[in-house]
């Protein structure tokens, strides 16, 4: 476990800035303590300092995970955000897309969303913008990159589900699969549902 190097930090922040813009500082300085990012086995973990102290005692080869995994660095040093980061990114998302209830279920199970399925969308969202997808109950579903749509009004644009977001390779039984927003379960302030395009 080690802190991120400059390079890695830059890469990661660049990626996150696509979704949350410049609000990165909010992630680090939280009211309930200082959080930081640590790199371990090519994965970036978001931990509070209290946990960090205890984790420092554990040798590297025995440490499996700490806090929340935000994403990982690939072999070519690109950073992939994981679904587990959604809870932290969603509150600060700059561009949001809301899906209608009908399209939501289909989206959850991996299909593209046509423009007609969009309920709301933040202004000025350009193509290939990283967005956080919400259900109509303001439940964040996933963060995605937005594909071309508004080319022709008449044409149905679409939001592709670029697999931008991966997920932790849990064991088959535990891996979070597609999750849907369940409206009755809204819990204020916490993104309830995450769509994970993943098939175990």
């Amino acid at each position: 476990m080690r802190p991120l190097t400059e390079e890695e930090t830059r890469v990661m922040f660049e990626k996150m800035a696509k979704y949350i813009g410049e609000n990165l500082q909010l992630l680090v300085d939280r009211p309930d303590g200082t959080y930081c990012f640590r790199l371990h086995n090519d994965r970036v973990y978001y931990v509070s300092e209290k946990i960090l102290k205890l984790a420092a005692n554990i040798s590297g080869d025995k440490l499996v995970s700490l806090g929340t995994c935000f994403g990982k660095f690939t072999k070519s040093h690109r950073f992939r955000l994981h679904i587990t980061a959604l809870d932290y990114l969603a509150p600060y998302a700059k561009y949001k897309v809301w899906i209608k209830p009908g399209a939501e279920q289909s989206f959850l199970y991996g299909n593209h969303v046509l423009k007609s399925g969009l309920g709301r969308i933040t202004e000025n969202t350009c193509q290939y913008q990283g967005v956080v997808v919400y259900s109509m109950a303001d439940v964040p579903l996933i963060q995605r990159e937005r594909e071309a749509e508004t080319q022709a009004e008449g044409e149905a644009g679409s939001m592709h589900r670029e697999p931008d977001v991966g997920f932790d390779p849990g064991s088959p039984g535990s891996r979070p699969g597609p999750k849907a927003g369940a409206k009755p379960l809204r819990h204020p302030g916490i993104p309830l549902i995450v769509i994970l395009i993943g098939i175990s």
Binding site: I51, K62, D168, G170, S174, P176, P178, L185, I190, I193
Partner: protein, 818 residues
């Protein structure tokens, strides 16, 4: 642990062989009630009526032709049979207590004739007849064989009525049989069961007509244990029904052994037979079944075995980090799940009765709103009661259900270290914790036994030890046969090591904690009470109530073993009584961070009188630096002596007082050694542990209070420790001191005894052995300390110890003292 049986994937089986629609009780009984004949007569076709007439005629003939000598009384018995029929038919159609597949085969046609009066109601009885026909499936062929009666041969060729006839015939035959002496039955049986000629448990149906109670009595009385030779034949082709019946018989006999035993057969033969039968019937290995027979009384045993055949209900636990139970229940009900709250004892549990969607794949599950968890797995975390901002260690955490429960109780504050030795299963922990939104957890992959070395000082520790799995047989039936004596002992050994490591990882001086919960999903005493008892002897811990108000108490004695009386505060759960997986939970509180020195062979078991002070002295002198054993022995001897003899030696007493043994602290054990050690420790500030130092003063303080005169002079010799006394218990420090400082050889306190008892001597002693003490201090060992301290007041003349700690009195060691 993984769920190997997925109850949601159970295949639905169609109606079985015996499933038949019944028309209802009225129609069933109508056969036997002549009053209804008028209505039903209309339903008979003309041919049926002719047949009926023929039968009536034929029955008279058949009676004469019937091979059974008792045929003639049949007409007389008919009314009885009929009247009794109403009572018996339900039995016949049901579990067939009167009738066994093997024995029912040959029902003479007499029974048929006896029911001819009810033939008119054949139509209405079809269904019932069909039912019976199934049960007596082979009866038709037999009826053919015994088809001496012309009426029967006619009826067989016909259609629907045909079904009635054999059954009716069978019923009538049965009645006749019952009327007849039992000898006939045994004849039949021997024909069928030649290989088990001596078994006559079932045949005694002749008494059935005389009433239910008598039937049972007769059966049991006549139950004869098959000879061992015949049993071997049984093994080759076990007839489960027969075995089942035999099991019931034997249980019945054993319940009232005095009156129902067979002459010449001992109880152990019955038990042996029962064990074999149970093993065959429920597919257990002999070893495990033997263990279960030791554990449960017979009636419970059968229930337990039955409960293991059936899976427990699915339960889930709401993730309160993300939702509330009410909301989750509503959402799941909307999806089509039939559920209920788990019980009064759980605020987050839900039990699922059935579901139209897979419970493990709903969007709510994937969003982390709930976790599939067994009801018994929620209990240890409830017992642990983690508080916010604590440091918790979960030593064997996979697949993460308990860890996430801990995190949700702590509301994501504090730190949890979730550890497991199995890398594969750790992945599931990672997945589950991320899914459920747990952020305060570190997941590590250590062997649990490495723990205090890696990191220690936790407020609470949860140890869900790997076990033999005998409590979750319903989830994993392979346990029935693949567990052996060696497996159990290996598990027990591992559990003991893990438990000791876990205890060492707890910080006893934690402000809010100092607790450890040990739990297993096993019901074996070797893995539960024995391990707990072992830990009580080896470490400074005591058992505290778990906070669970239901569940069976743990054993304080089992066969030849005796455990500490506080084991009553542990809890056992069984599948057949609580409808949850078998479980065992024990909650410890650690009262001292020091580790008692091991005293092999001196564990309280040694009798107080075994060692004499002079002996101790003798031991001490030769090798003060050598093995700690003589020192320990001496110490033990000292303590025991003190207690038993009630300070027969004034010198000793005074010596003890010298050392600052305060009776008030009730740490009798530590007494002499304790004090001197404490003194030594205080002296050696660098090496002594802070706790020890702190405790030292406490002890001395107490001493002052208690024995003013004696101690006054000697107190001077003793050091006043630095720092304020710490710890909750004075006893604890004293104990720990005594335990940790193995070095304090009897020398220290013996010599003063011998000699002038002057403080000077002691002083001299102390500086003389700083190195040794230091060396010893670091040694760990099992203490005898905890036990001996229980020894109450050292001096008879002194006021009794104010605080008597039950926990210290290890039951087995010093009954006299404790």
């Amino acid at each position: 642990m993984g769920r190997k049986l997925d109850p949601t994937k159970k295949e639905k089986r169609g109606p079985g062989r015996k499933a038949r629609k019944q028309k209802g009780a009225e129609t069933e009984l109508a056969r036997f009630l002549p009053a209804a004949g008028d209505e039903n007569s209309k339903r008979l076709s003309s041919r049926a009526r002719k047949r009926a007439a023929k039968r009536r005629l034929g029955s008279a003939e058949s009676l004469a032709m019937h091979k059974f000598p008792g045929a003639k009384p049949l007409p007389g018995k008919l009314p009885k049979g009929i009247s009794g029929g109403a009572v018996q038919t339900p039995g016949k159609k049901g579990a067939q207590p009167l009738h066994h597949g093997t024995q029912g085969k040959k029902r003479p046609a007499l029974t048929h004739s006896s029911e001819e009066e009810e033939v008119e109601e054949e139509d209405s009885e079809e269904d019932g007849v069909l039912n019976q026909e199934d049960l007596w499936g082979s009866e038709d062929s037999d009826a053919d064989m015994i088809d001496d009666y012309g009426a029967d041969s006619d009826s067989e060729g016909e259609d629907e009525d045909e079904e009635l006839l054999p059954i009716e015939r069978a019923a009538q035959k049965q009645k006749v049989q019952e009327a007849v002496a039992g000898g006939q039955w045994s004849e039949e049986e021997t024909e069928e069961e030649e290989e088990k000629g001596s078994l006559q448990s079932c045949p005694q149906k002749d008494d059935e007509t005389e009433g239910g109670l008598q039937i049972n009595v007769d059966e049991e009385e006549s139950f004869v244990l098959p000879l061992p030779g015949e049993m071997e034949q049984d093994a080759q082709a076990p007839d489960l029904q027969r075995i089942h019946k035999r099991i019931q018989d034997i249980v019945g006999v054993l319940r009232d052994f005095g009156t129902q035993r067979e002459e010449g057969r001992s109880r152990s033969e019955y038990l042996h037979r029962l064990q074999k039968d149970l093993a065959t019937y429920y597919s257990y290995g002999d070893f495990l079944l033997g263990k279960l027979m030791d554990l449960f009384p017979l009636s419970e045993l059968v229930e337990f075995l039955e409960a293991n055949e059936v899976p427990r209900p699915i339960t889930l636990r709401t993730n309160t980090l993300k939702t509330r139970r009410r909301d989750l229940a509503q959402a799941l009900i909307n999806r089509g799940v039939n559920l209920d709250p788990l019980g009064k004892w759980s605020k987050t549990g839900l039990v699922v009765y059935d579901s139209s969607v897979p419970i493990g794949a709903t969007p709510e599950y994937l969003a982390g709103y709930y976790m599939l968890q067994g009801a018994s797995s929620m209990l240890p975390v409830m017992a642990l009661a983690p508080q916010e901002h604590e440091r918790i260690l979960d030593m064997c955490c996979a697949p993460g259900g308990k860890t996430s429960y801990i995190a949700q109780l702590m509301k994501n504050t504090g730190v949890i270290l979730a550890n497991d030795a199995n890398a594969e299963r750790l992945k599931s922990v990672v997945g589950n914790l991320h899914r459920l939104g747990v952020t305060n957890t570190i997941i590590s992959h250590y062997d649990g036994r490495q723990f205090p070395k890696v990191v220690g000082g936790f407020d609470r520790v949860l140890l869900d030890a790997p076990c033999s799995g005998t409590g979750v047989i319903s989830k994993d039936p392979a346990v029935k046969t693949n567990k052996d004596e060696k497996d159990i002992l290996r598990c027990a050994h591992l559990q003991k090591e893990l438990l000791l490591s876990a205890i060492d990882s707890v910080n006893a001086t934690s402000k809010t904690g100092g607790y450890l919960v040990y739990c297993t999903c096993s019901i074996m005493v070797e893995e539960n009470e024995w391990v707990v008892d072992y830990a009580l002897k080896k470490r400074n811990v005591r058992l505290v109530p778990t906070g669970l108000d239901f569940g069976q108490e743990g054993f304080t004695r089992f066969r030849e073993r005796r455990f500490h009386p506080t084991l009553r505060s542990t809890r056992r759960f069984y599948p057949h009584t609580h409808n949850m997986d078998g479980f065992f939970i024990a909650k410890f509180k650690k009262f001292s961070n020091s580790i008692p020195q091991s005293q092999t062979g001196n564990s309280a078991a040694s009798t107080p009188t075994s060692l004499d002070l002079p002996e101790v002295k003798g031991q001490v002198t030769p090798k003060p630096e050598g093995s700690s054993q003589p020192a320990k022995k001496a110490r033990v001897a000292m303590k025991t002596k003190q207690q038993l003899q009630k300070r027969q030696h004034p010198k000793k007493a005074s010596f003890q007082k010298q050392n600052g043994i305060s009776k008030g602290t009730d740490s009798g054990l530590s007494t002499v050694s304790c004090d001197t050690k404490s003194q030594a420790s205080s002296k050696l500030q660098d090496s002594s542990q802070p706790t020890q130092e702190i405790r030292g003063p406490k002890v001395t303080k107490k001493l002052k209070q208690q024995s003013a005169t004696l101690l006054s002079s000697k107190k001077v010799a003793f050091w006043k420790p630095n720092g304020p006394p710490k710890g909750t218990d004075t006893e604890v420090p004293v104990l720990s001191l005594s335990k940790t400082q193995d070095t304090l050889k009897p020398e220290d306190w013996v010599q003063p005894l011998r000699s002038t008892r002057g403080t000077k001597k002691v002083k001299q002693q102390l500086p003389a052995q700083p190195s040794k003490r230091a060396a010893f201090r670091k040694q760990n060992g099992t203490p005898k300390g905890p036990e001996t301290p229980a020894m109450s007041p050292l001096d008879s003349s002194q006021p009794p110890p104010a605080k008597r700690r039950k926990s210290q009195s290890r039951g087995s060691s010093h009954p006299v003292l404790s």
